[in-house]
């Protein structure tokens, strides 16, 4: 998932921003959602069927927006032990609904559904 990279010098960031504003320099600062919540552009919605999903991560690799990432879950097994599972999660706030994930999924575990708003 896209994040502001680690290692950025955050110290004095606000002060620098203020300075830039005062001097009217044409500078932009990294920010998520510059185009708003791009999820509103969707006409089709990808929905993951976790019963079929094998956790291969192809959708994560190929998502142009970078809105899919693994989430760790523990599944309770009949013998009482917990199984660590990772399942892909889609950030629907920003998913633009291009459905590349649907086409790259090797086990057809992602379905395209009509977006209902």
């Amino acid at each position: 998932m896209s994040r502001i990279p680690e290692g950025i010098d955050l110290e004095g960031r606000e002060e620098r921003k203020k300075r830039v504003k005062e001097m009217f320099l044409p500078r932009g600062y990294p920010s998520e959602g510059v185009a708003g919540k791009t999820g509103s552009r969707r006409t089709m919605k990808p929905v993951i069927d976790y019963n079929k999903c094998i956790g291969c991560g192809q959708c994560i690799i190929h998502c142009p927006e970078g809105v899919i990432d693994f989430e760790i879950r523990y599944k309770e097994l009949p013998n009482g032990r917990k199984l660590k599972q990772r399942i892909p999660k889609i950030d629907y706030d920003y998913c633009k609904g291009c459905l590349v994930c649907v086409s790259v999924c090797p086990v057809k575990a992602i379905n395209a559904e009509i977006e209902v708003k």
Partner: protein
């Protein structure tokens, strides 16, 4: 020529998943299914944090959004069309003057800004062996202005400036041209083969530490091609599989073919898919004729000959690297 420590790289899916770094943040202005955003995201993972981006007029300069915000999580200078490689030369000189050796300027230009209006600047920077990486994001048309014909448009394609007959001329073989400049690294990549693309970007940044490095990335633009956004990766893969966009690297003048392109080179009849398979999915090839197919086949053969010219320098076994 400087010898570099070139080791084979194996990229696993795990590595691509675990590397969560990305220069392009979500919620940007790109179209749904933009192959360029995918390419940029994967390549930025390989480049890491210490880069300064130079972006000439292109879709990428628009997708960043309005000041005072920006969708780019790295230092970026947006410049005019024909100036990208020159601005990067200036940045490279300034970094050298300041002694900031760990930072490298990266140009992220479209095909118009590279093969047409920016070619003189690109060639100049390559000739000076500027310490920089130039990545051409080739969607084979002027996407940002409404899908007009560019020097990188393949023959037969209908664009908004060649709407009826389609382009009659061949695509400009810029990667070959760059290799002839004698730069240490030239590679072609495709979003159809993401691990291969990551490998090439990684090599350009981490294994080859100085000199001019050029990566030509082919990707598909759903609105320009007139395809379903979901086909963006599959179609780019088909372009490679039909032999229209071979994948190769030129390291210090030696050419290495990668993956399927190597097999195609050795046994074309077995591995080369017919070009029609690639054409039928795209609106820009709607109503393609026999003549178009013949033109594309000729183009493919010519490109193969251009590559052959260099392959003779390398190991006849065409080792995988």
């Amino acid at each position: 020529m400087v010898e570099f420590d070139i080791k084979p790289i194996r990229v696993t899916n795990e590595e691509l998943i675990e590397n969560r770094f990305s220069n392009i943040l979500k919620g940007n202005h790109a179209c749904a299914g933009c192959g360029g955003t995918l390419a940029m995201r994967i390549i930025s993972k390989a480049f890491g944090r210490n880069v300064i981006y130079v972006i000439p007029a292109s879709c990428s300069s628009v997708r960043q959004g309005f000041i005072p915000k920006s969708a780019m999580a790295c230092p970026v200078f947006n410049t005019a069309f024909a100036s990208a490689a020159a601005v990067a030369s200036g940045i490279a000189a300034a970094l050298k003057y300041q002694g900031r050796d760990d930072v490298v300027p990266v140009v992220r230009a479209g095909d118009g800004g590279t093969v047409d209006i920016g070619l003189a600047t690109l060639s100049g920077a390559a000739e000076r062996q500027t310490n920089m990486i130039y990545v051409c994001y080739d969607n084979e048309e002027y996407g940002n202005t409404g899908y007009q014909r560019s020097g990188a448009t393949p023959p037969g394609a209908r664009t908004t400036t060649t709407p009826i007959k389609g382009k009659r001329e061949f695509k400009k073989p810029v990667p070959v041209l760059m290799a002839d400049h004698g730069v240490p690294y030239v590679a072609t990549a495709s979003i159809g083969y993401v691990p291969d693309m990551y490998k090439k970007a990684y090599r350009a940044r981490r294994q080859i530490k100085n000199g001019f490095r050029y990566i030509h990335v082919h990707f598909t633009c759903p609105p320009g091609r007139g395809t379903d956004p979901r086909d963006c990766v599959g179609l780019a893969k088909l372009a490679v599989d039909t032999g229209l966009r071979p994948l190769y690297e030129v390291i210090n003048g030696k050419r290495y073919l990668n993956g399927i392109s190597k097999k195609q080179y050795l046994e074309p009849d077995k591995y080369m898919k017919p070009v029609e398979e690639y054409l039928k999915y795209q609106r820009r090839y709607r109503g393609y004729t026999e003549e178009d197919v013949e033109l594309l086949n000729r183009y493919r053969d010519r490109y193969r000959d251009l590559i052959k010219r260099h392959v003779k320098y390398t190991n006849p076994e065409l080792e995988e690297i």
